[in-house]
Amino acid sequence: MLYPALLVGSAELVMFKADSDRDKNITYAVSGPSDKGLEQIDAILQKRKHFKKVECAQPEKDLAEGKVDAVITRKADYVELRVNQLLKVATLATTINDNLKSAYLQELTEAFSSKGLAKENSQGFAIVSQNITASGSTQKIAGSPEGRSRVNKLENISATLCLMIFSLLMLGLGAAYPSIAVTAEEFERNTIETSCLLPVSRSMIMLGKVAAVSTFAAVSGLVNFVSMYSVAALVLSQAKLFPRFSSDHLVFNLNIAQTLGLIACYLLLAVLISALMIFATSFCRTVRSAQQWTTFPLLIILLLPPCALFPNLELNSRMMWVPILNCTLMLKAIFSGVPFNYTFIVVIAVSLFVSFVSLALARIFLFEQVDPGAYFGRKADSFARRFSKKETSA
């Protein structure tokens, strides 16, 4: 019940935010020597009601100070639009993209070809954001001379990212059953004894458990993602059911480093969620009670990651400390082309730390049941006993 509502809700939020931003006027200035290509784009933008041209003496400075939202410049073989990062880059990109995709694209292409510029090799519309707070260096977040799929990128984030985030629920479910199998079921079937008899340290046993569970979790999450993605692509390519979405929204252009980052982040989540699951089931003696305890981590996985879809929530120096959510925000950041920075390192460190702590606690809970009193002494033992029925040894 809750999840579909949440899914639709968050998607709606994204769209709603985009819509409201789209209604805002975007002021822009032209910088540098003009030429025919630039004039053409200028003309197109002027026709759009959301774009408002302003004259400024020092466009670059005004951009930095936020007096103007965007500056267009003629570069060697493409037109560059620099936007102030304070502006929602994603929305602007969407807006421009919409402009170029619609009839204006037609117009633009015709205009270019009439000027002797071939459609293929020309005139992507490059969007570059300017990082004015930091070193003043510019950071290219999207766009290249290569064509419009690049320009689409930011707009595409939400759909693919949504699917990836929703696949985390399946990842959690994929972790739940194996984690019960490696904890409570070991007691129910009385196989924990045989594990304890191996010439392997108990930490290694825990490591083996989490490796097994997270592999299972990652595979089920990824399979779920791939299948949702394919279905979405199929539906969107076939039907005009969702006028706002097209299969273009599912395209993501990521370079190899970003793709690897994405996979690493997903695997990190798999490890973290598996560790939490193992922790949640580690003090259970029976599969039945373990099933009930998995509700808590599942609830967290249900509620926390989709929060990353809130448009204003970004990976920043505060958010990077929130486990799980910071990972999904990192996914979002990678999708948005944010380059590797210290927040990513903090996210990785926080996730590994939380996994480590949950596994350390799980190790204690698990082996405390094998050998009551070994870790906690007698007081805490009677506490632990409340969770688990005492073994009736013949």
């Binding site: 008899l197 191996l198 013949a394």
Partner: protein, 249 residues
């Protein structure tokens, strides 16, 4: 290799009983090619003692040595040299005997080419080759016990610990279990064995320790115990020792 257990204690806590010693200053020795039996009623502390020796439980105090290995200081080395089997030991139901043996063999450090041969020879020795590739969940109790035995000895341990191994087995399976224990004795292994069945102890054990309430009341060969109590049958020997213990309390 010789097992030497010295003043082993294990304290438990239960809300109803408070703190108590499930095994209390237990000392005994088992030589090579010897079967030592712990004989006692339910709740006497047999399982606890054997679990402490096999490093599943941490001792409250006391020491145990297997040859030069200090079992509690170097549990990994000790585990490599011992096999433990109890009637309650479970198997991974979704795995086949072959998979289970491979898994435990590898983790116990048996080298790969030798492992395959070892597994085949265990199939033949314990006579369950026809079930080698069936899932353990589907096997009969007797076959499961055979798989458990094979699991416990896949790494060729010097010391074998059996905790009431025949519980839940039918006459035939019990018989083959006894055969197996005798055979292991012939191979020169140290064997510790617990039971609450007098005849089983009488039949198998070289030396017997009578255990009750966490304490060993007396130990020795059957002849020595008879001489000690002046009774003939083990049951009576046992009852005499328990009575004496109760009186002393």
């Amino acid at each position: 290799m010789k097992l030497h257990v010295e003043k082993l204690c294990k304290r438990f806590y239960e809300p109803a009983r408070g703190e108590f010693f499930a095994c209390n200053e237990i000392s005994f020795e088992v030589g090579q090619g010897e079967i030592f039996g712990l004989l006692g009623p339910n709740g006497a502390g047999k399982t606890t003692t054997l679990r402490v020796i096999s490093t599943i439980l941490k001792p409250t105090s006391g020491s145990a040595h297997l040859g030069d290995i200090d079992i509690f200081q170097d549990p990994d080395a000790a585990r490599r040299a011992m096999g433990f089997l109890s009637s309650s030991t479970g198997l991974y139901e979704r795995l086949t005997p072959r998979e289970i043996l491979t898994y435990f063999g590898r983790l116990s450090g048996v080298a790969e080419p030798a492992l395959k041969e070892k597994i085949e020879s265990l199939f033949l020795a314990l006579d369950f080759k026809q079930f080698a590739d069936a899932r353990c969940g589907k096997l009969s109790q007797g076959t499961k016990q055979k798989v458990s035995i094979a699991r416990a000895i896949i790494h060729d341990p010097k010391l074998m610990i059996f905790d009431e191994p025949s519980t839940g087995l039918d006459v035939l399976a019990t018989q083959s279990m006894h055969e197996f224990i005798k055979q292991a004795k012939g191979e020169g292994k140290c064997i510790v064995f617990s039971t609450h069945i007098m005849s089983e102890a009488e039949k198998l054990c070289d030396r017997i320790g009578i255990i009750n309430d966490g304490k060993i009341l007396a130990q020795g060969t059957l002849a020595e115990l008879r001489a000690l109590t002046g009774e003939t049958y083990l049951e009576e020997v046992f009852m005499a020792l328990v009575r004496k213990y109760e009186l002393a309390k």
